[in-house]
Amino acid sequence: MNRAVRQYVVITVTALGLALLMRVCNHHLAPLHISLGAGGLLITYAALRLHAKAAMAAAFTIGLGLDAASPVPFGQNALLLLTAVCLVLGVRHRLPREELAVGIAVAVVINLFLLIARTLAFADAWPDPSAGWLRVFSDLVASQVFVALIAPWFFSLQRHSLVWLGADSVQTPVTRYG
């Protein structure tokens, strides 16, 4: 198996694992009417540090996994994540992408992008838009704090998994787009 395929497998499996843990976490938070979203975190490491092909393929697969468990048109999350990865790939050569703080900032920004995109797609169904935006804002604040807190652990998990499978980007420094 070549390095890009191994990177794709590691990123996809760890991200889908985190998505599942998020669903369990939201199950327990449901009585409080708070929902956490960490879509941005799932693809940040791949978008910043890995081979472009592996990052894009992983983002699309992760998105399909999220779509299957949500009542959204199938492919919506996949295309949104793919767009986010493309945008990061376009600017990553200008960023000190090995820095943890940069990783957290990118995850938070992608998370914001995903939440706003989804809200715009569903806002029509709200009977009271002001209450809807208030709820989105409270979920956003909780999600961003949560993402910032768990990002170091998740990046470390992905990095160690890549090293363990011999697919770490440190061994082959990434060029601009791949």
Binding site: P31, G65, P71, F74, V85, A125, R135, D139
Partner: protein
């Protein structure tokens, strides 16, 4: 080697190709892909649910048998007698309905089979409120079946998979149900609402006749009307706590307070419609 400009555009080119390919991909293929992705993840979700059950089991194991028996006895005290009376009333009411149906030559109402199910996952956010239950097409669950719990109507089955089903709750903004006020036969519209954090779920009632009044101090109970054929009539939806006249002055619109237990569901009952007798 491609020029830096082409190299820079490569991810966007890929995005465009994927987008185009996705748009022309046959729906059947997408459907198969969705089902495959769902069924791949479902066993892990279900195993989390079984783990929670195991956790509860071991938590109960830490208590003595006498303690558990006493707790159950306290809970059951009085309930047995109440259930006995309700059963007798039900039998009498069923007989009355059958007599009236025969007398008026009405088609008999839809019968349901109760299918209790444990909740695997709750998925509540600003856009939808859904639960996944541990019963699916294997147990005969069908799309559109009403789902109830101790507080009344929980929602409706929207997706059925092999061993799990997805239920959209009545607190979901996209849900609309024909309802009536208890003791009134005129239909009104119920819609789920957006649920603010840390407060009980809420809904909205609309097309309420002007002679109906409700306040937080004197709330009115809202029940299903039976219109539309999905929900049996008379099931509790919530309590109307406010009503205001619309700008056109023809109807009233108000807020519905839903049962707080709706956010903590662990077990529900699916009412599977039985095929009508020929």
């Amino acid at each position: 080697m491609p020029s830096p400009r082409i190299d820079q555009a490569r991810p966007y080119l890929t995005l465009g190709i994927v987008l185009l390919a996705w748009l022309v991909l046959p729906t059947v293929f997408k459907r198969v892909l969705r089902v495959s992705f769902y069924e791949l993840q479902a066993p892990v979700e279900i195993s989390f649910s079984y783990l929670r059950d195991l956790q509860d089991f071991w938590a109960l194991k830490t208590r003595s048998k006498n303690e558990i028996i006493e707790a159950a006895r306290d809970q059951a005290r009085g309930l047995g007698a109440a259930y006995e009376v309700t059963l007798q009333e039900n039998t009498a009411l069923h007989a009355e309905i059958e007599r009236l149906e025969t007398l008026l030559r009405l088609p008999s109402q839809v019968d349901y089979r109760s299918e209790p199910a444990r909740v695997v996952l709750r998925d509540f956010n600003a856009w939808w409120q859904r639960i996944t239950i541990r019963k699916g097409s294997t147990q005969g669950i069908t799309v559109g079946s009403p789902v109830i719990y101790a507080g009344g109507v929980a929602g409706r089955v929207t997706e059925v998979h092999a061993y799990t089903s997805v239920v959209e709750l009545i607190s979901s903004p996209g849900v609309r149900i024909a309802a009536t006020f208890e003791g009134d036969t005129r239909p009104v519209g119920f819609q789920g609402g957006v649920n603010a954090p840390f407060v009980a779920p809420r809904g909205r009632v609309e097309f309420v006749p002007l002679d109906i009044f409700a306040t937080a101090a004197q709330p009115r109970r809202l029940v299903t009307s039976g219109l539309g054929g999905v929900y049996p009539p008379g099931l509790a939806l919530g309590r109307v706590v406010s009503l205001e006249t619309d700008t056109d002055g023809l109807f009233k619109t108000g807020g519905v307070q839903l049962d707080p237990r709706l956010g903590e569901l662990n077990e529900v009952v699916v009412l599977v419609p039985l095929p009508s007798a020929p």
